[in-house]
Amino acid sequence: MSIQVLVFYLFGTILTLSALSVITVRNPVYAALFLVLAFFSSAAIWMLLEVEFLAITLVLVYVGAVMVLFLFVVMMLDVNLSRLREGFARYLPVGILVALVMAGELLLVIWTKGAEKLPLPPGNPEGFSNTTYLGERLYTEYLFPFEIAAVILLVAIVAAITLTHRGRSEGGRYQDPARQVQVTRDERVRIVSMPAVKDKENGA
């Protein structure tokens, strides 16, 4: 067993266990942290496949930004776990059924394609840059889908702002930073001239 295989199984195990924990642990903050761990382990597995750009981007985007905001929200929620667990037994049979069907399909994929028929991808040639390759593909072959995906993100922004932004309510007090920075000394400080004589009789 080469060291690569060992590393693969190590991260694979961590990934599976943390993914399982995401849905089994009771504390939502733990669940979010396990999801972070799951992302991290899958990034490590991608690293093994020599797709370092995707691996690092996964960490950068999902771990560094998305999950932070997720955690941000989850921490402030006071989730009532007992209510969430209501009806668990009732939905369990359906859930198990769906899970079995999915598992069966996965097995079918492996059988019809056959894991042994899929050789390991050949190693990349010397000097091959995964990042360059990805960039070239995205901006040539997949330009159109790439741009449409960008439009989808734009729509998401517009939609989110439409649904949440309520504008500035009238009469509220707001600071205008542009005016704040233009404040001059004369507006705030008044120099008072006092006689420079010490009052010795009452002096401290």
Partner: protein, 342 residues
């Protein structure tokens, strides 16, 4: 495992230690320098009792912190409470793996090293958030929330600033980015990317939660923010992480915008042949210390920003500036005004 593998492993560990130990020492004397510099700026002496000129002060501080008790607040989440400082420190150290000190002096010269650094620095926020949540204290929690929002906001501007560097350098490898800046001080990227350079460095200050962006600590309103409940060694680890991150940001600024280990006097007619025009790791360290000094200078100069001002600066000023300058940089490269490296 055969013998060769073992030696490789040991050699790697040795190399890691060769980076980490000097780094910790730098942190120790950085704290000393901070107190001295700010002291002089405020017409004080700074530490001067322990050792000559107070030089042993950092060690006194370290020993004090190590011998103090770590107090676990009641109802705190024990596991996460202890995990948080580690989460904070690990990325701050791990990022150094790809920092090149010289053309040949780098622990791991990976292809996408700039992205790697960005990814790891973006993970440092977990230490802060987890610490704030696990402490079971509202001050800590508010500090954590402030910090999370702030770091996520400034990361965008920082990322865009780096995209500008990538456009001009034509590479996402730190070593190649430095090599693309050859030719003397006016060929470094700070000049064509001046706005990005400033945005990057200021965002770096914000990312490390340093003054004037230190609302996450904000001792006047939320005591000490996310690490209010930490004492002793656990606090020391947070402290270490913060300073290591400051040094990292300085090092990256030196690499990305100030030519790394390259000499500023390259191609200067009279000096070109002398040792002063040769690239050397010392140049890199010198530039790094130069930028580190700015962190201290800022702290002594600026009052703390209010929270909405921080958000405004990040979202409404920095992000638009970076986006505009990205286009400008791309036009520069397209017109050949700036020669793209690689």
């Amino acid at each position: 495992m055969d013998m060769q593998m073992l030696t490789t492993l040991l050699w790697t560990v040795a190399k890691i230690l060769m980076i980490v130990v000097p780094l910790i020492l730098t942190v120790a004397y950085y704290t000393y320098a901070e107190r001295k510099v700010i002291g002089y700026m405020q017409s004080r002496m700074g530490p001067n009792r322990v050792g000559p000129w107070g030089l042993l002060q950092p060690f006194a501080d370290v020993f004090k912190l190590l011998f103090k008790e770590i107090i676990l607040p009641s109802n705190a989440n024990k596991f996460l409470f202890y995990l948080a400082p580690v989460l904070s420190l690990a990325p701050a150290f791990a990022a150094w793996a790809v920092v090149p000190f010289d053309d040949w002096l780098v622990l791991a010269d990976i292809d996408a090293s700039l992205l790697y650094v960005l990814a790891l620095t973006s993970m440092g926020v977990y230490g802060v958030i987890v610490a704030g949540w696990a402490s079971n204290s509202k001050y800590a929690f508010i500090g954590a929330l402030r910090s999370a929002a702030q770091i996520v906001s400034y990361e965008i501007a920082m990322g865009f600033a780096l995209v500008g560097v990538i456009i001009v350098a034509g590479s996402i490898n730190l070593r190649e980015i430095v090599l693309a800046q050859q030719g003397g001080i006016f060929d470094w990227f700070w000049l064509p990317l001046l706005p990005l350079f400033m945005v990057y460095f200021i965002s770096g200050v914000a990312e490390t939660n340093r003054a004037p962006f230190d609302v996450a600590e904000g001792e006047s309103e939320i005591v000490a923010g996310f690490h209010v409940e930490y004492a002793g060694a656990a606090f020391a680890v947070f402290f270490l992480a913060e300073y290591a991150n400051m040094i990292l940001i300085s090092a990256l600024t030196a690499l990305l915008f100030a030519g790394g280990w390259l000499s500023p006097f390259e191609n200067v007619p009279l000096l070109a042949e002398t040792f002063i025009a040769q690239p050397h790791a010392a140049w890199f360290l010198g530039k790094m210390f130069f930028f580190m000094f700015f962190f201290l200078w800022f702290r002594a100069t600026f009052p703390r920003y209010r929270y909405d001002q921080i958000m405004r600066l990040g979202w409404k000023v920095f992000i638009p500036i970076t986006i505009v300058w990205l286009i400008v940089a791309a036009v520069f490269v397209l017109l050949g005004w700036v020669e793209q490296g690689a």
